[in-house]
Symmetry: D3
Subunit: 236 residues, 6 copies
Amino acid sequence: MRKDGRANNMIRPIKITKNYLKYPEGSALIELGETKVICSVTVEDKVPPFLKGHGTGWITAEYSMLPRANEVRKVRDSVKGKIDGRSHEIQRLIGRALRSAVDLKKIGERTLWIDCDVIQADGGTRVASIIGAFVAVYLSLAKLTLKESPIKDFVAAISVGMVDAVPMIDLNYDEDSKAEVDMNFVITGKGEFVEIQGTGESRSFTQDEFEKMKNLAIKGVEKIIELQKKVLGSSE
Amino acid sequence: MRKDGRANNMIRPIKITKNYLKYPEGSALIELGETKVICSVTVEDKVPPFLKGHGTGWITAEYSMLPRANEVRKVRDSVKGKIDGRSHEIQRLIGRALRSAVDLKKIGERTLWIDCDVIQADGGTRVASIIGAFVAVYLSLAKLTLKESPIKDFVAAISVGMVDAVPMIDLNYDEDSKAEVDMNFVITGKGEFVEIQGTGESRSFTQDEFEKMKNLAIKGVEKIIELQKKVLGSSE
Amino acid sequence: MRKDGRANNMIRPIKITKNYLKYPEGSALIELGETKVICSVTVEDKVPPFLKGHGTGWITAEYSMLPRANEVRKVRDSVKGKIDGRSHEIQRLIGRALRSAVDLKKIGERTLWIDCDVIQADGGTRVASIIGAFVAVYLSLAKLTLKESPIKDFVAAISVGMVDAVPMIDLNYDEDSKAEVDMNFVITGKGEFVEIQGTGESRSFTQDEFEKMKNLAIKGVEKIIELQKKVLGSSE
Amino acid sequence: MRKDGRANNMIRPIKITKNYLKYPEGSALIELGETKVICSVTVEDKVPPFLKGHGTGWITAEYSMLPRANEVRKVRDSVKGKIDGRSHEIQRLIGRALRSAVDLKKIGERTLWIDCDVIQADGGTRVASIIGAFVAVYLSLAKLTLKESPIKDFVAAISVGMVDAVPMIDLNYDEDSKAEVDMNFVITGKGEFVEIQGTGESRSFTQDEFEKMKNLAIKGVEKIIELQKKVLGSSE
Amino acid sequence: MRKDGRANNMIRPIKITKNYLKYPEGSALIELGETKVICSVTVEDKVPPFLKGHGTGWITAEYSMLPRANEVRKVRDSVKGKIDGRSHEIQRLIGRALRSAVDLKKIGERTLWIDCDVIQADGGTRVASIIGAFVAVYLSLAKLTLKESPIKDFVAAISVGMVDAVPMIDLNYDEDSKAEVDMNFVITGKGEFVEIQGTGESRSFTQDEFEKMKNLAIKGVEKIIELQKKVLGSSE
Amino acid sequence: MRKDGRANNMIRPIKITKNYLKYPEGSALIELGETKVICSVTVEDKVPPFLKGHGTGWITAEYSMLPRANEVRKVRDSVKGKIDGRSHEIQRLIGRALRSAVDLKKIGERTLWIDCDVIQADGGTRVASIIGAFVAVYLSLAKLTLKESPIKDFVAAISVGMVDAVPMIDLNYDEDSKAEVDMNFVITGKGEFVEIQGTGESRSFTQDEFEKMKNLAIKGVEKIIELQKKVLGSSE
């Protein structure tokens, strides 16, 4: 059993607060265990230059952490004058994940700016960002007057890994620090893959280990998407 | 009467959530009406080069807004590669305000990093930051083993202004936008000034108008400091 | 009596050289004691995007110091790649002060760029900048063909402070370094306030102390505006 | 059959020129079809601060493209003043891949700086970089006097994807542009995974499609590692 | 005799590979002894703002070194976030040299972007860049449909210097490091000067020394231009 | 005759104000016709890392223009976040020129920071900077207690050019704008060259033209050095 009492195939409690902020077109506070991320969506009535006149929309994401979201204070990117490599990588991932969930032609020449700001980080900030961003995007699109729903499918994400040679889902910060293998899956409501990212941190991993992690992830995302549906369906 | 039903000498409801974050040495979420700021304090066991070996500590502050804390999305400073002028000005103010409340010699060669991150902005973000930062600083200092309390006095702040030629306290965003004069006062528990900032936005202002705004501010800060004391005194 | 022989209510000698530079539409070298600032004004026939089509003008300011304007050489902002916080704060103050003196509607869709470059710094660089910038702005506007004068009122500024518990005007660098309280007032020809900035550097200050400093400032600015009028009235 | 006559499971011709540059401790020019990357390794006798005194080494990578490596000229990162997100992501991948191949404890407190500079880009620049970087790292380590070989295993990488619903290996630029799914595998000599990156560009992908791409990649890397061994074994 | 066996008036072997890259409108790899530079030319169908509507073209150059082109690894400009002073100086020189060779009116409103990327540096990188850039520019212009040839004259460059009080041509890195005087000449096919740059590194130099270096340079460039003609004349 | 009445071999009036600033170890305001440059020297008791422990000193220079030193306002480098290419080139030239005049071993492990700030630009700012910087350096060295004078020789500089096919000395801005050839010479008191920079702006130039410009420069610098000697010899 894991330090916090979870079984290896058990995800931490997830709480999603819809419309957490007053101004954005869509927003959510997502809590995945102790990890907390504010996701907001801004709808802008224009697209980047490379899409102008193509009749299609765009979705882009930015990801950042408050300086003291972690055990140790991190210097702000604005002070360093540049975005760090890890944030770049994560925000590109969030953008791709959400673009896969939305039919960009159906939103017209609009850009959705997703902002994921991590308030507190205890592992899984990128997957929490994707789960929350989907909710915020969904809410923002519901406010537009469109002929058809541009949502192609639900999308969620989860981390899995090998810790002490055991496959586990939804690693918290401590588990993540000692994981030998670290993976993130972005998966649709139909159970298809949008993104697979796996890294052997301290060793390479076998095909068999990959299979076990993959299966944990598929089942985990199923449950998360159920929750997203419940949250978005409720009138509260 | 004001749009939100307040009298001209009435401050919006203030709610302070102590220890809002898990990792920082001190933290607070402050809500001043719809304005919400996360304040966190990191205690570092060293001082900037100019203070090394002087046996005294230092307090510095950083202030930032989430991109969609406002009606319109703001480009992140990290994307522009520099901190904007307004943020610079505000974080310097927060630093001065908090340094005035603490006897830096009594904290030894330590630096307190204050981070004020505005989650939602409806006017008064700089004064909310100071009110919340005081709470977070107080909490962080209580965790240190020090011979004597380094707190010299309580400190709080409030905005006042002339709106349609009427002196008013604690302007929200709408009132602030049409204010002719905009002032911020930082005041101690003894009722002395730490900082006075006043700007005639659309016109200059008379000595008499100044007197009226000053008196509103003095009384307003008194009430806020009472609240800080209550929050810090409670065991919750 | 003060080190340089001045009474506490006495301003250092001010010398203003009109049209100090050949190219700008308006310029002045101002010497406030040993403090020297070159002020220049560039008139551009367009306004920033947020004002386009509103039929109104804009005034903005930039403030900088030569690297060796001070006792110790300062690294250039261009080498650090960013403007420091103090310069930001000062140039925003200069901009606000001058915008208060000019009816922006009467200058049409033009921008006045004020450049204040400190050649030598012996305290009071920001107030010297405002005094000199007013002269340079006045000269530049006189060259435009406008229906009515856009000057609403004269504007000048002065510093005051508490040094060894004594209220004093126009602090030089040495006095400023040991001042307990440091204030800057921007005041119009009619004696109204445009800007009040006061900071308790090493301690908070009382309402009574504030009154004394305020009165020193009001009388000081009166004399400075007399000088500005004399300089601008002379044909030399 | 593919436009360039290859079967779907066929990799483009690979040419590796060892010791391509005169100065670096290790270097290689790798040509993967028309894609050309110069890989060089610099051995520095110190480690980053976070590793000082741990008796272990470090490997880090930088990746860049010449401005006209592509059909369209790209503005240099040095002109924009920052590294773009894609380069960040790729150089982090290269670093992780090579760290997995080397026992960092066995190289002592040294840093290997890998530079991958793309001279010409026709798809697969990140996998070509990893293949070439392994050769350059191997050569640079051979020059050090170490008790034991720090090479844990060979490492290589290849891209696979779904193009018109057909699984294919080693996509060139044209194929990559129209691929529905795009994956990169980093695999060891033992056939274990170091890194799996898969993205559904225009649609999600099924478990079955993943299996087919994975199998193509495993066989492809086997052949590439044979080539690396041949190149490194030859005395030329 | 020199270390590498050359007489003092002897240039190192030059090898120019035309059309070295696949994508640029013109390109060349130039090898001057061990110095290797990739020169590429991109033709863009617009000009910088200051030339718009003048019916004339523009040529601009960028110069950079791979991090390990030298004995010691250099931090990338993109990591430092700015171009270093030496690169700035060299790329301005390359731009001026090539603009002197081309009648900009005859190329119409087009910009030629020259990129010189030093792969390996053993002295003379700036003159090698100019020699190679001329070839790349020539090739790129030959692809345009123009009424008249815009080439006014051939242009090449060479370094000369005083080493141990002896005038020498085409210094390699070792010679350059100990040269007392370092000069670069850019000279046309007619033997006229386009650019003269001479620096007394460790001492000043006499008029007589200047004459000797100048004569070496004139004869050296004659031979280089012969080579350029041969390379450009060949059909290979 | 030239527009301002000068003969072709005549330099504009030069005025040098010694000790123009209060704080720097050495300073001068130089006026070359309408061109005005403030030169200051800061003596720092340490050297850059690459010279530490070598018992030798260093001289480095920075060059900048006030935004409105020219006809048209220039955006500050600090606003753009980087130093422009032209300034880089000029400050490197000033540094080399002054290092040639001083025996760096005789100043010990000290750095001389030269700051040349152009207040008004009417052609020849770089040569004016060198002339004034020599005076400021000389004054700063005179304040140090050294065994022997570190001044090896006087150094000055002047521009020459071909304007309408006529060789001329000391071009002002108008002449410089239409010059076909533009040269700068840095020459010692003994008449030896420290630096030669010549550019064919709109055409190449012949050996004969070069000879004429060179002779103008040699005679011009002789006169400037006489003036430097007079200024530095006077007790005023």
